[in-house]
């Protein structure tokens, strides 16, 4: 019996979210008194045995470059075979784009109940109950999984990656891959930037910034904080910023440690995408802006005056 943890590789490297997931999986394995094993699909330049330092004992590696692009059908087939071979009772994914495309298929393939968007360790005394976000972060549900094999996808930034002492053995997995009906003709990566869903700090701005020509103020602050940038929906709709920056109910959902909301009113649909941030700082010239109700720290004032000063103050402490 084991807990099987899907470790995602992106551009040949182990993803940061995968380390959180391994820590989470290792903890559950400990609670269930079974072993934690990782599954890695595709080639990587990282040394996989270092994953032992996060609590897995064995790594099953399907080491083939044909798996470097996520393809839900072949991924499902291979993971299902590994689940069978290892008699895994629980399979874990990150609740990100990859997890969302593979976990549902695997759920049907294995008749395994799926809870997506978990935010805490499952409660395993008296059943198996997983806490997940619902209503776009406005509430949580405690969901029982009633099947023998279970699948969970874990929200990012909800469980810390914890280094422990340990080593892992790597076992190669041989498989056959059938030709996909999906032909990839281009991949456009947004390079150099910090992926929004993985960022610890996010600097986000709204219509209060008046126009795209003013975004230097926002990216400047983001830069000194090593943060990702985001925006409200009207900003993306007006093409002031790229669409992938739009956060909220109809955009990306994020849960960074620190979220700056600058010139954003704080409409309920915007909050739905960011309200799980640990600390929220609001800068708005309107004292009545609803965002202040959801904030931990706030400054009532003009973003055009505050941002340059704030950027300088942060840059000063970073340099000392």
């Amino acid at each position: 019996m084991s807990v099987l943890i899907f470790v995602e590789i992106a551009d040949g490297r182990i993803k940061k979210t995968a380390l959180e997931l391994i820590s989470y999986g290792a903890k559950i394995a400990e609670l269930l008194n079974v072993s934690a094993q990782a599954v890695v699909l595709g080639t990587t330049q990282d040394d996989l045995s270092q994953l032992g330092n996060y609590g897995v004992k064995k790594i099953i590696h399907a080491d083939n470059e044909k798996l470097n692009q996520v393809e839900a059908e072949s991924y499902t087939k291979i993971i299902a075979e590994i689940v069978e071979q290892t008699a895994a009772k629980l399979v874990l994914f990150s609740n990100n784009i990859t997890g969302k495309s593979v976990a549902p298929r695997l759920s049907v393939r294995l008749k395994a109940g799926l809870v997506s968007g978990a935010v805490a360790l499952p409660r395993i005394t008296n059943g198996f109950v997983v806490k997940k976000t619902v209503f776009s972060g406005k509430a949580y549900a405690h969901v029982s999984i009633n099947s023998d094999v279970k699948i969970i996808t874990l929200n990012q930034n909800t469980y810390p990656a914890l280094a422990v002492e340990g080593t892992a053995v790597i076992e190669k997995f041989n498989f056959e891959i059938s030709t996909s009906k999906i032909k990839i003709i281009a991949i456009n990566k947004i390079s150099g930037e910090i992926p929004l869903t993985e960022a610890e700090i996010v600097v986000s701005a709204g219509r209060g910034l008046k126009g795209p020509e003013n975004w230097g103020l926002v990216t400047g602050l983001a830069k000194v904080l090593n943060a990702a940038t985001a925006c409200s929906r009207p900003v993306a709709d007006a093409n002031w910023r790229p669409h992938n920056e739009h956060v909220g109910q109809t955009g990306t959902t994020i849960a960074p440690t620190l979220y700056f909301a600058i010139g954003i009113s704080g409409a309920i649909q915007h909050l739905a995408g960011v309200n799980r941030s640990k600390v929220i700082v609001v800068i708005n010239k309107d004292a009545e802006a609803p965002f202040f109700k959801a904030a931990d720290y706030g400054i009532i004032g003009d973003a055009f005056e505050i941002l340059p000063k704030l950027t300088k103050a942060i840059s000063d402490i970073k340099n000392t």
Binding site: D11, A139, D296, I317
Partner: protein
């Protein structure tokens, strides 16, 4: 060409989220119901655009739910669906709903099955992939563009850190998100014609639920905002560093 669009009902995005019966049921009191935004704005509207470009396209809508879903389905018909199918059962977990949708899809010989990215109440983001696996079809999740040109279907989808453009062979299941289309408002003609469009009610097949919701919980209220004077940004930086310990 036949398109099946999966539509679900969800509480209005501004609805107050509260629970009753010892936190086991969503409090419907005063809640307005809408078509789940992803299903309406992206999946359905893109299907309608495909139909406008090619008269040979028919759009079927499917929803798994009780009769209280009918107003939502009528609105979707008013926007431009041709006919609707309602599987008459209280919707349960994703596996159950996907089983029902797959069952209907099996007999309909659909070339395309569209779902929304996720339901804004349950946030499962999983029914599309499940339906695809039940039907053994390829699945493209989180599509932002969908183009049909003669025999070539091109889809752009979001991937971790970017986007992927791919060519696919139909039939296929696609989950739709922002970028696919723009929201529309139904016009008077649509509303009138929706009244006479077929809404077929079918009984569910026997299927399992693999998960069940025990209860809900609201997040703890925020302690309240700490305000800092606009001319004292240094104080904000100090608090973030020393009190919140986040920078």
């Amino acid at each position: 060409m036949k398109i099946l669009v999966c539509v679900s009902k969800s509480p209005d995005t501004t609805a107050k989220v509260a629970f009753t019966d010892n936190n086991t049921k969503f409090d419907n009191n005063g809640v307005q119901w809408i078509i789940n935004p992803y299903d309406e704005w992206y999946a359905l509207v893109r299907a309608i655009e495909l139909k406008e470009a090619n008269a040979a396209v028919t759009i079927h809508l499917i929803t798994v739910g009780l009769a209280d879903t009918d107003p939502i389905i009528r609105k979707a018909l008013a926007l431009g669906g041709d006919e609707a199918i309602r599987v008459n059962v209280e919707s349960q977990d994703s596996f159950f709903i996907a089983s029902q949708i797959a069952e209907v899809a099996k007999t309909g010989s659909y070339d395309l099955i569209f779902t929304g990215k996720e339901t804004i109440d349950f946030n499962g983001s999983s029914i599309g992939g499940m339906v695809a696996e039940f039907l053994q079809l390829p699945y493209i999740s989180l599509a932002t563009k969908f183009d049909l040109k003669e025999s070539v279907t091109t889809i752009t989808k979001e991937i971790e850190g970017g986007e992927e453009i791919c060519e696919v062979v139909l039939p296929i299941v696609v989950s739709c998100q922002k970028g696919m289309a723009e929201a529309r408002i139904p016009n008077m003609r649509g509303i009138m014609s929706a009244r006479t469009k077929p809404l077929k009610v079918v009984e569910p097949v026997i299927a399992n639920s693999l998960t069940s919701i025990d209860n809900f919980e609201l997040p703890p209220a925020k302690a309240g905002v700490k305000l800092i004077a606009a001319d004292n940004v240094e104080e904000l930086v100090r608090l973030l560093r020393e009190e919140a310990k986040v920078i």
